[in-house]
Amino acid sequence: MKRHTVIRAAVVTAVALAALTAGATAASKKPNLVLWTIQRTENAVETKAAKTYKPANVKVQIFANDPFKQKIKIALGSGNPPDMFMNWGGGGLRQYVNAHKVLDLTPYLNADKAWKNRFFNNVLQTAAFNGKYYGIPNVGMQPVLLFYNKAVFRAHSLTPPKTWADLLSVVKSLKSAGVTPFILGGQSKWPDLMWEEYLVDRVGGPEAFNAIAAGKKDAWLNPDVIKANTMLQQLVDAGAFGSNFSSTTYDGTVTATLLGTGKGAMELMGNWEYGAVLQNAPDLIKNNDLGWMNFPSVSGGKGNAKDIAGNTSNFYSIAKKSKNPAAAVAYLKKQIMSKTYVKGLIALGNIPPVKGIASQLTTGSNAAFTTWCYKLVNSAPNFQHSWDQVLSPNAANSLLSGLDQLLLKQITPEQFSAAMNKAK
């Protein structure tokens, strides 16, 4: 009796093992893809696209913003890169392209005109070098706006500032009422950059930074740049950023909460902050108390008050050393900016750089915001891409450190310009 049971158990086990291994080998026929992205409100859309994709196992790895910038560089250089990775285009992507780490997507895009025509061309250009395309957009267009808490303004009988003079007087009133005028994630440094970009544009026009980006001699010593930084330090002196800005990190939750709870009145941040407020301080939007506007104008400045700064978009690129480049291309083509993907983005207040979605933007729960942003981007004479993504990584690094010191009043605008002029 016992022997039969043993044999039966053995047969069952063998069959089960065979079935399992068959299943495993069948499963292993599916390619495995790894995608790296940064932590942000859009992660939900990104992970959903990966989970619902049947032809391959796509694993999404999420990193915090600043460590990501280092990790991706090392990963691309180490011979063990992720198949697909997020980037901001511009100078950051260019260094990888020049080091031959990124797959040229031009042949794939040209072979499928429908795919290529899905996107706005000027957005694709941010990830294109020497006429070749190296990335496709994976989130909406990201202008930087001035968000404000309407309830706080009402409580102090103030109106949102349309000009620089207005801004200074609003700051003064809020300060004396004990409210932090502007929330700033100074410890992360790159939020400082948004102020720099707008001030230099308003005072010196787009030509000021274009000269810097083109590497023109002494472009940093432009008196408009120095004037902009003087105004920036003026703000610091007026207490516009409160006393805690240099220990406040931007991580997608803290600043939105501060704005939502009225601890600060305004925040200059990318339009993704709308999604962050949705997640962390939803009541503010529910009560219709989240306001948004363009950066104030500066009288006598060369810049147009409609100019904007920000990221044209973020991109997914494919690593050249990927073991499954064809599978990666297929994934990007099918899932990114598909109808579902676009819908998911719009639900977060994004404006995807995709043609033919204007009607979707004017309906939906975030219509007021998305329509306004869309109009803003379309009517902006100049859309300045983030400086730290245009410049070389080392220059960008010096820029951020310099801004940090500028805001801490450790250096003067002249010293800042001199240092940036020397940085490579």
Binding site: K69, Q70, K73, I74, L76, G77, A99, K101, G186, Q187, S243, N244, F245, S246, S247, T248, V254, L258, K263, P393, N394, N397, S401, D404, Q405, L408, Q410
Partner: protein
């Protein structure tokens, strides 16, 4: 011949695995770092030779010089803060009273946490918007007390030194407790009979007999604070500005954030040289290195 080999004792080959591992991952890196300091290496492409470029930069880079200064400040201040507190409290808890061992059980709790855990806890505790310190000073109406320590370039370093002290004083307390426990009670009783007060007993008996422990503890503090990294990286990342950028942090930032690993290697070489020199110097001065067979140890 056989007899000779037997007299040789254990085969030195026994040390080979340890030596091999140590050679590849600790000794070889020392040579590699010197070589890398003469190259330009960004972690992606291969290093290429640049001669003395990194070293000449080292002589002129004001950020690195500032980092050296910060490291020295931390070394001195850490010793000045940690040693008296650890010494006095260590001796205090070596006493046999019941309540002292209860206190001791709590004193050693920080030892259980990793540097990461301690850094993150304090960073949140000190958050100027939502943290414990902000909340307490607000409720106790102490508006004169600074709330934004980690964001203030003038205060950040002192707060870092405090947190490091919070982390390591328990360790040194252990050392002093063990040292004080070895002093025979009879010496104190004799002094008591001679009419010596508590302070006198401490200065004339405890301190001199703790000399070895003081030396050990001091060597560990000084050499340790030269190479300190984890907690500062997590709490301030070297900021605000450059206020807490110690030398190891300057090395990391140059190497892994600016990906200038050649220059970072030069800084590393200086770190090794400084650590080695300091260790050898202290060992020579204090005679710490003479290890004799003793009954303590383990």
């Amino acid at each position: 011949m056989r007899a000779d080999r037997k007299r040789m004792g254990a085969s030195p080959l026994l040390a080979l695995p340890a030596l091999g591992l140590f050679a590849i991952f600790a000794l070889a890196p020392m040579i590699v770092v010197v070589v890398l300091s003469f190259t330009n290496y960004n972690g992606i492409s291969s290093p290429h030779y640049t001669g003395l470029a990194n070293w000449s930069r080292f002589l002129h880079d004001s950020t690195t010089h500032h980092a050296i200064w910060i490291s020295l400040e931390i070394m001195v201040l850490s010793w000045l803060i940690q040693t008296p507190i650890a010494l006095l409290l260590g001796v205090f808890i070596s006493g046999r009273q019941r309540y002292r061992s209860v206190l001791a059980a709590v004193y050693f709790v920080p030892l259980l946490f990793s540097a990461a855990a301690i850094g993150i806890t304090w960073k949140n505790l000190l958050d100027p918007n939502f943290g414990l310190l902000a909340n307490l000073t607000h409720r106790l109406h102490m508006s004169w007390f600074p709330v934004s320590w980690l964001g203030n370039p003038g205060l950040a370093l002192y707060m870092i030194i405090f947190i490091i002290a919070w982390q390591f004083i328990p360790f040194h307390m252990l050392l002093y407790q063990a040292g004080a426990r070895q002093i025979p009670h009879s010496i104190y009783e004799a002094a008591e009979i001679d009419g010596a007060g508590r302070v006198r007993q401490f200065l004339r008996i405890t301190l001199p007999l703790l000399r070895n422990t003081i030396v050990t503890s001091s060597v560990l503090i000084l050499v340790g604070s030269l190479t300190y990294f984890d907690l500062v990286f997590i709490v301030t990342g070297g900021g605000p500005g450059f206020a807490t950028r110690l030398l190891p942090l300057d090395m990391y930032i140059n190497g892994f954030e600016r990906t200038d690993m050649g220059y970072a290697s030069a800084i590393s070489v200086v770190l090794v040289a400084a650590a080695l020199t300091l260790s050898l110097l202290l060992i020579r001065i204090t005679g710490f290195g003479r290890f004799r067979s003793s009954h303590e140890g383990a």
